[in-house]
Assembly symmetry: C2
Homo-oligomer: 319 residues x 2
Amino acid sequence: MKILVINRLLEEEHKELIRKHAAEAGGTVLFADSEDDIPADYEDCEVIYGFGMKNAVRNKNLKWFAAPSVGVDFIMKPGVFANENCLITNSSGAYGVTIAEHIIAVSLMMMRKLDYSYRESLSRNWSSPVPQRSLKDSRILVLGTGDIGCCFARRARAFEPESITGVSRSGICSEPAFDSVKKISSLDELLPETDLLVMSLPDTPETRNILSRERIALLPDDSFVVNVGRGSAVDEDALCDSLDEGRLGGAALDVFRNEPLSGDSRLWKTNNLLITPHVAGNLTLKHTLDTNVRMFCENLEKYGKGLPLNNLIDRNKGY
Amino acid sequence: MKILVINRLLEEEHKELIRKHAAEAGGTVLFADSEDDIPADYEDCEVIYGFGMKNAVRNKNLKWFAAPSVGVDFIMKPGVFANENCLITNSSGAYGVTIAEHIIAVSLMMMRKLDYSYRESLSRNWSSPVPQRSLKDSRILVLGTGDIGCCFARRARAFEPESITGVSRSGICSEPAFDSVKKISSLDELLPETDLLVMSLPDTPETRNILSRERIALLPDDSFVVNVGRGSAVDEDALCDSLDEGRLGGAALDVFRNEPLSGDSRLWKTNNLLITPHVAGNLTLKHTLDTNVRMFCENLEKYGKGLPLNNLIDRNKGY
């Protein structure tokens, strides 16, 4: 069994761990920094852990594609897999901690106007106090109650919000940090009662444009929006309109319909819009990378024994 | 009993509450936006709630000075009170929530390099990922275990740090969010084991320059410092040296030896130094203002009944 691992951030300790699990599963591993570095004898590998889409298109022998990301929309398109029965797993569980920290950080930056005081400090200006808002007593709505939504809810809870409501397809989630979890069908009733809307949704036909112009209009004045899921979930133009009118308190987007954002995008110049370049869950954080590798190794053990894999993607649902 | 209240941010609901408690205590209230607005017949007032230092210097009849701040160092200097037996209270308890949010916000901004990505976004630049750090698994040391330190520790706990250690004069604090609380005398042993140092200390002879050049040298490389107490606690030059050398990960200062910071201060140009203009606990946040007023009203009730006041300052300790 040939296993191809593509990740330039791996350190020796990670490689050692993967080699050990590969050996136990009866496999050999090749580590590559990018997909362009793959030698010919690994073009028919059985397992890929990393972003190896070019190989997936050609390689009929590929049986398991382990994505190091949570979102897998980019491989759910037709034609990506030469072997259509290839198993796909994602790395849900590795990113909750870091993305939850990102959400708390940008929410507080917006609510406390730290973007303003930081901007002023760049001009060496001791700025005057501007009205602050707080997570305390705020009504938080979390779209998506997976690992990221739950990790965020547990952290947000410590800030004594008025309420944290989760929204999911099923309306069911056992995480006690949510005061309640509702079905997605009740979204229109929930939005008008929301001070902070947090979006951590996968890209699926149902989530595309879920924050439409009509739904943005349902949000209260001075409310805040954070999106860390997929850019396709938000009507960016409608959001910019609301922000430029000064109706919303602010928005923080880490994901966009087109990435990287082009230099002439309207988003850069929008009022009270905090833009981060899809970094909420990047693998530079050791905890995230360690967890990612550990989860792959656990799955490799299962794969070697022929057991069902964790985090297996349901091709019908798309996550 | 004449009560003078100086605070331009008070709303009608706050004034109503204060009037009601004043009437019950047998007093009348005058509200002023600043100390320059005080009519002659209130120059001999018995109680001041607000920043009324000019009156305090002259007014021999002043019996109780209720500071809306936590720090009272500015009135602890000789000559501030014509009546040296004037009672002084502070507003410890009103600021914990907001200052704790500030500490979390700036800590995450620094650790996650959000200052960098925000700065790049101002130039419409989709920046490359830079190494991130996390509150998760970090060793947090909190100097000062009062309301602010405790509120911070409760929030930080949700981020799954390796440890949160409090440091106080007595070494005693019942807040369970601290893993342990040590005496200030053990500071030199604690600093080398610290990833994030949070300072929320009053200005007293013992805390002045407590983060000296020698102690900054004890902090590990890549550690972070946040100060929300008083600027006098930090050797600013030594901190700037360590930051400019790239030895520390970053620092976030909300308080300074000289405020406002002058335009030519070295601090503005220091590497990885996040400057906020003493806004961590400003009264623009409704929760902070509401709590502040409610605490004064509770004390006014006690004062009217001749009971001991809450938050009475010990002139020997200075807090």
